[in-house]
Subunit: 224 residues, 2 copies
DNA sequence: CTGTATCCGTGTTGATACTG
DNA sequence: CAGTATCAACACGGATACAG
């Protein structure tokens, strides 16, 4: 593993691709954007990513100071992977990628990890839609809890306690996604997603993340 | 080419990678950011990219409405490739990638294409450094000419006429890069880069593109 | 001259099974 | 749970030959 294939290009964007352009590198990073994760957490969030490839990507990302591995103190004593400060600064990159690709005519809905969902809120949040709204919204997806605090036209979303939230969404994150981005009413998803607390606020919350308009599909017709 | 390997992930950033995450896809797009290019233009700007891979990338980018191929009217009658409107909107992506990777401790200087250089100016331009400066700067790199117009703390850079510029840089773009980002004085590069016009303005211009600070290299020591 | 198609050696990727 | 080993498939890059 002496040297890997690299663009030999002085362009900084090309260098970025040398660092994080390998297949699966960015999805793996994404899973660490909201805090440290274990090997198996990442694997579970990325079906299709095999163990050997994950090992290799984590090694490579660690070798270029984007990821750090850390051993939690006893009694946990488990090893976790986390982004370095610089690695965390790649968040803007995910946002720009996401906003650009949200206009793609080829995008198909699909399952998202809890981290993806929270990141999409950070990405698509509309200050205009929020106006003067002030609210704390909680989420529980299996064992993980997250919260979004909206105040003064800003959103702060991440892992957190849901004890004091005004609305709690509890269940399958994919159901919430169908509501957020697919316009499915919460009532139609009641079996997969429980909503407790201020229901009017919950509905208002769901309007804060408008999707940009999709661009036209320019493909001529049928090409083989 | 029935179906290619894709992340099956509802995350929009992952979809972006499905569209433009293949090796060479973004460098190829980059070469079209300043306007239509011919097949051989792109090849010449990207040493290491072989013809068959370029063909394949152009086909794939065309198939997802990022690239359009167009036949120039006679007497030129040559085929050119250009970004669609949506493809052009990926510029922000290159800028964010570039700004992030500019902090990499592993970045090594290397040759850049003329397009890369102009894009780096758009990316790294500092309105603070420019202040109230108003100037037109021209560039000639072989057969291609570009210009940068600076006014009111903004830069507009791209292909253009150099007839009326206050300063003209003429020669090897890599020499200009050494000056811009390597701090090499223009005098030391006189054999590779001719500077005509207002020399004081030229020196001022070279200070408008500050690089961000490099992050620490966290690698433990020697790993195989 | 400008691409496009084919062949081939090589390295990367990915799925399965296996080990500490 | 956290990876390693093995092997098959594919992608890349170079060369060359071909088509408009």
């Amino acid at each position: 593993m002496l040297r890997k294939r690299a663009y030999s290009d002085g362009c900084a964007a090309a260098h970025a691709l040398d660092l994080i352009g390998d297949r699966w590198a960015m999805p793996v990073m994404r899973e660490m954007l909201l805090g440290p994760r274990r090997f198996s957490d990442i694997r579970a969030a990325l079906p299709g990513l095999s163990a050997n490839v994950l090992t290799q990507r984590l090694e490579e990302l660690e070798a270029v100071s984007i990821v750090q591995r850390r051993k939690l103190p006893p009694p946990a004593s488990v090893q976790v992977y986390e982004l370095t400060q610089w690695g965390l600064e790649s968040e803007e990159l995910f946002k720009v990628l996401g906003r650009w690709a949200a206009r793609s005519p080829y995008k198909e809905p699909g399952p998202m990890s809890p981290v993806s969902l929270i990141m999409s809120m950070r990405t698509m949040f509309s200050p205009e839609r929020a106006g003067a709204m002030k609210a704390a919204i909680g989420f529980r997806f299996g064992p993980e809890t997250f919260r979004a605090d909206i105040n003064k036209g800003e959103i702060s979303a991440g892992r957190g306690d849901v004890a004091d939230v005004a609305v709690l969404f509890d269940g399958d994150q994919n159901a919430l996604i169908e509501s957020l981005y697919g316009g499915v009413p919460l009532d139609a998803l009641a079996d997969r997603l429980q909503v407790t607390g201020d229901r009017a606020l919950a509905d208002k919350f769901l309007t804060l993340f408008p999707l940009p308009s999709v661009v036209p599909d320019l493909r001529p017709s049928i090409s083989d």
